[in-house]
Amino acid sequence: VSGPLALRCPSCGAPVTFRARFCAYCRAALDFRSTPSLAGAGRPARIFDLKDGISLPGTKPYTNWYTPKPGVGFELKVDPGRRAYGQTDPKLRDSIARITGVCHDPYGTFAIGARAHQIGALSAGYFFVLSPSRREVFARRDIASKDDAFTTVIVRQAAHEIAGVGATNTLEVRCADSLFEVYVNGAKVTAFEDAHFCFGEHAWAVDAETAQTRVTIEKFEVEEL
């Protein structure tokens, strides 16, 4: 059994959490002997094909350097140490999110946010960051207020599948309950378990590190797994 089917009770079909000892609804005993794969197709929930000249969701005007370029993508310029960010519904537990983009210099990264949520004045969620210049991806848990931001890095993985600066990369994140799989350009580069955040929206982000960066995002998609 692959994917979220393994996270259903075989007796009654109720959703279960990975490694649960029994189904909360019918009390049937559960036995997870291996980690299910999350491979398989999803059901499209949101598609932002930015070559069509549309904007990324939640684009904020603080830089005013967002340029939709029909046929190319959505170009962002971000100042050093700053982040461009946007969030989109629906809220999901089990999902696939995919972003395709090009970092035109060594200072930029782009990222997918998953299970992003707001609590009072705070925002929290997972972030999966792709750095073409370092040829690495990393996953982290974030919590931030207006003035402070804190991060726990969950996994950091160098991958030769990552194309370098100036080339197109597609980052894909699959999650079902506490299971996460990260793909770059179609190849699985890392997988991990983390159950801290279980539900929320998806996000995209472009970060500039030590200098201003220029990044073009071509497509951002969210699917229900």
Binding site: P15, A24, G120, A124, D142, S145
Partner: protein
């Protein structure tokens, strides 16, 4: 088209669970979906602290000054928390990170203004913190579920319900209250002195540590005094 009562995702008439947030639903004609909550019962004990002999979680001793506003002192029947201004303090059982658990504690408020509570699935990220909480106001005899949070200088609590639950099972000042928070999957349930107070569906957080909470609601002048007698955590029974 039927919408999930929790997240508003579309639910087909033959579906028993929301495909987005996993809420179990029951269809009631002609067009209502009602949330169904599983039964959560305590199982094998994981932690049991008798505060007449042992220190509260995260503390080395049963007495001491914790901050300018909070101090505690040992008593024959537990630990007395003395809170001089509007504040709430969480004591986390940091050794056990759990998904599903039944968390309980017994408190006696010795005066007005006392808040008692429990937390579950508390997560720390740097100086940031989030958790589910059961909050109980002894004076108002109300209980409500909340998300408590902090990140650097920002902190607070967001109620997960529009209206707090008034419960006659909450004993007044001077009488002990045994409160319990049970979490399994996305279900949170609260009990006070053995009586069920609320069940809610809340899928945002999945794992973390448990703890007890004491506070001063800041609504009356003077210190809030609360004795905590015991704290316990158990697995959920199959």
């Amino acid at each position: 088209v039927l919408a999930c009562p929790y997240c508003k995702h579309v639910i087909e008439p033959d579906e028993r669970f929301c495909p987005a947030c996993q809420l179990a639903v029951r269809f009631e004609p002609p067009s209502t979906l009602v949330a169904v909550h599983p039964k959560i019962t305590p199982g094998t004990s994981i932690v049991r602290r008798d505060l007449s002999r042992e220190a509260p979680p995260e503390m080395q001793a049963r007495s001491g000054t914790l901050s300018a506003a909070v101090r505690c002192e040992e008593r024959a029947d537990g630990v007395l928390f003395h809170m001089t201004s509007a504040t709430t303090r969480t004591f986390r059982e940091t050794k056990h990170e759990l998904r599903d658990a039944c968390i309980g504690a017994t408190f006696t408020a010795l005066g007005p203004g006392a808040r008692i509570g429990l937390c579950a699935r508390a997560t720390t990220i740097g100086e940031g913190f989030t958790a589910y909480a059961l909050e109980v106001s002894v004076d108002a005899r109300t209980a409500w579920p909340a998300i408590v949070f902090s990140a650097g200088k920002a902190s607070g609590s967001t109620s997960l319900v529009q209206k707090t639950h008034v419960s006659p099972s909450i004993a007044p000042v001077g009488k002990p209250n045994a409160i319990e928070l049970r979490v399994q999957g996305p279900s949170l349930q609260a009990f006070v002195n053995g009586e069920h107070v609320f069940s809610i569906h809340e899928p945002t957080y999945g794992v973390g540590v448990c703890g007890l909470r004491v506070g001063n609601d800041g609504l009356v002048k003077g210190a809030a005094l609360v004795v905590c007698h015991e704290f316990h955590v158990s697995e959920v029974a199959p």
